[in-house]
Amino acid sequence: MSDATLRSPLHDQHVALGATLVPFAGWEMPVRYTGDIAEHTAVRTAAGLFDLSHMGEISIRGAQAAEFLDHALVGRISAVALWGAKYTMLCTPEGGVIDDLIVYRRDWDHFFIVANAANKDVVVAELTDRLAGFDASLEDISREVALIAVQGPRAEDIVARMCTRGDDDIHAMRYYSAANVLLEGDIHAFVARTGYTGEDGFELFVDADEAAAVWALALATGADDGLVPCGLSSRDTLRLEAGMPLYGQELTRDTTPFDAGLGRIVVFGTPTKPRGDFVGREALLRAKVEGPSRVLVGLLGDGRRAARAGYGVLDADGETVGVVTSGAPSPTLGRPIAMAYVPATLAEPGTVVGIDVRGRREDMTVTALPFYSRAS
């Protein structure tokens, strides 16, 4: 472990719980506590507790904070309601994805951005560049903020019971919105109904100094509901089943939001609701008009051998025509699932493609995403 490796404020808790810790995006983070499948299943059926303190948090404030974000990001951030949240992206002038982000509006002139750990420094640098000319300021608060997620069907009850004030807000909160609550122990938390698991769930942003108290409170409050600590391995299979893209796999600087099937988050405006210029606009408009040359699809296998990131997608003649971006045996479905970029001609659900699984072809069927959606 190099000296530069960062540790979560919950590091001691992970060690005490017997977690397997691995280097991840410059941090040493828990990959699992007991077992990947048990943790995955707990989130699908009860609740899971995740330490996501490696994620980046950036605060944007100022009279022109909304105008600045409209310029810097592909979404219309000025339209986000107070306490609302939006999934958006930071793109290059060429339309490539620098990172996917969630932006929360905490006040009319105050936004809170969550970035991927591996991209945080790049996002901060890029946003700082784009600030020129706007009456707004940026602060990287990643190290001061801990992020603890409670995900699963039992999450609402557990998080509400953790509150001394604001439990009614937890119950009333819609998906992709947020509130300030007071947790037991007089701890202030910014709580959002967001997540990366395909289940209902909440993300609690608290001071790093209070992370250990919040972690202990969540474990104690949720114990009878079946809440268990979950590592990054189960988080990956949960998001894959939910068809959610991961930066570095489905999303890169060489992909546009349109390639990834997420063109809807790019807002160009209409004659009645125009939108000003934003970084990447011209290239993204071209990408929209031309249509993607490759399409992100879901793949479902009948065999036992799973496709993994980087494996080639083969056409009927055995030619490599695409690439798998993520793949695993699905704990919920009990079959191999994957996401892959394929040519538009092979993107129709029902199409059978081959995957080069370490030199041996395995057939998989193109399937609409997501692989799993919770009963609503």
């Binding site: 397997t20 990947d36 499948i37 048990a38 391995s233 051998r305 799973a306 045996p329 704990p331 370490r358």
Partner: protein, 127 residues
């Protein structure tokens, strides 16, 4: 810390061998608890088939977990005489009982194995 039984021999690729690995003898092969833990929940074992020839240090199958896939190496050279069929329906046995019910295959050794590690040397390797 994972368990490394004294009475077994080990390969650097994290397989264990039960029995004297002498030419003509039959030994049982599995993967170590350390390897099983590193892989996470194992969901599929592709073992060699009865009658296959295996060569020490060469790939003879694969192990798939939710997290990753890993190649299975044979720690000895010889002919496969039995395969643990129960792993087909219960691959998680590798995680729960790596040195017992999680055995993978049995080999009739064609050539005495000389480069296996004892428990102490293997434990040192995984520290």
């Amino acid at each position: 810390m994972s368990n490394v039984p004294e009475e077994l021999a080990y390969s650097a690729e994290h397989e264990w061998v039960s029995g004297e690995p002498d030419a003509g003898a039959e030994v049982t092969v599995g993967i170590t608890e350390h390897a099983a833990q590193a892989l996470g929940d194992i969901v599929y074992v592709e073992a060699p088939r009865v009658g296959d020839t295996v060569v020490a240090g060469e790939v003879c199958g694969e192990l798939e977990s939710t997290k990753a896939v890993s190649e299975l190496y044979s720690p000895v050279s010889g002919t496969v005489v039995a395969v643990n069929e129960a792993l087909e329906g219960a691959p998680e046995t590798l995680n729960s009982d790596a040195y017992g019910d999680g055995w993978i295959f049995k080999v009739e050794i064609s050539e005495t194995a000389t480069d296996l590690l004892d428990a102490e040397a293997y434990a040192a390797l995984t520290e």
